[in-house]
Symmetry: C2
Subunit: 221 residues, 2 copies
């Protein structure tokens, strides 16, 4: 049997109507984009009023995890089981065309639709907290002191299935109007990267602390 | 009379309930964050279903401008005058604490609430399109061929007032539990920057094209 890559079925919400060639439904590509991102934007509506909140997240298999204080408006709203839209955007470059009209950006984004459920079992909560930490700095979890029972109780963890999701990708040079290519205007791409600068040690660092390689040589993407 | 900086009145929607010390309402700081960003995340709800779409934007004075194809779901929905939430997030660093619980991020974000109106006058539309282009590469507009009437008619421009907005800022080292400072765990910040790589010329570049200084030495923030 041939091994075909896993692909999500487009739905009314995830099917791209405009520029459909930018749409991607392979889970491998969706997961890669999610795993490279540090922040997602979570959208939800309360009585027609939309909210968009930036927050950290983690992924384990085909589920996305969010966490925070049980007092946060975001988590309080989501745990009621309302519809949520989670969007992740990686900006790869600025696309400079000969006309303003054809200026664009190169990017990889993922949109996830679904409803969140509260993660109750302590064991699953710990695994999700590890995913949040390792999403930011791979391997970081193993360097830390273990979470206390009070911390676990004080953290609300929500889980969203990655069953209704799609990615959108643009790459490459600008697409100009045919007549404009003759113009003496510079056109092309300015690639962008999220780069780590030298780590700044906490002023209250214990003298025995050694900077781990994962921090010293931190890289993204 | 003393010149006090302009400050927005917090509303039920923009008042930070948790971590209120991170809240900022001075327009100068809100505008700075908006002007440094390349992408915003626009949230809206249609029959309770939230959508969060990443898109470019521009600012002129106390108004935010969005644009796109009149066929896009985003713009079609917004021009009906529904409530919108626009969020901009600048990620400044990863905050590594001694416990997973106190890991955080340094960031500057802005949330804007309001309703969008369609920009009809061609003159205002042109000024908004200039703002979109110059938001990405300052001065770029003046290097381009002028927009055609067909392009102007084919671009929907929406305007959102910046009257109900707030910023949220975190900076500095981690805040750990007092007992944890003695642990021999490295803690501190990994600063992050969106950096421009060397520009890539369009393979179809006209030979007379010279790369402008704004592109050659592009920097953000």
């Amino acid at each position: 049997m041939s091994q075909s890559p896993s692909r999500l079925q487009p739905t009314v919400r995830t099917q791209l109507k405009r520029l459909p060639k930018r749409g991607r439904y392979e889970t491998e590509q969706i997961y890669q984009i999610l795993d490279e991102a540090l922040v997602c934007h979570v959208g939800f509506a309360v009585e027609g009023q939309p909210y968009v909140i930036p927050t950290a997240f983690g992924r384990i298999g085909d589920r996305l995890y969010l966490h925070g204080s049980p007092a946060s408006r975001l988590l309080r709203s989501l745990q009621a089981g309302i519809e949520v839209c989670v969007t992740v955007t990686l900006l790869d470059g600025l696309v400079l065309a000969r006309s303003a009209f054809h200026h664009s950006m190169n990017y990889r984004s993922v949109v996830v639709f679904g409803t969140a459920t509260v993660v109750e079992p302590i064991a699953e909560k710990v695994i999700a907290l590890k995913a949040f930490t390792d999403q930011v700095v791979p391997g970081r979890w193993d360097e830390l002191r273990s979470p206390t029972e009070a911390e676990l109780n004080g953290t609300l963890v929500l889980s969203i299935p990655l069953s209704e999701a799609s990615a959108k990708v643009r790459s490459g040079p600008p697409i100009d109007d045919p007549a404009d290519y003759a113009l003496p205007i510079w056109a092309g791409e300015i690639p962008l990267r999220l780069t780590a600068q030298s780590p700044i040690a906490d002023p209250q660092l214990a003298t025995a602390s050694v900077i781990p390689d994962s921090v010293q040589n931190y890289q993204r993407g």
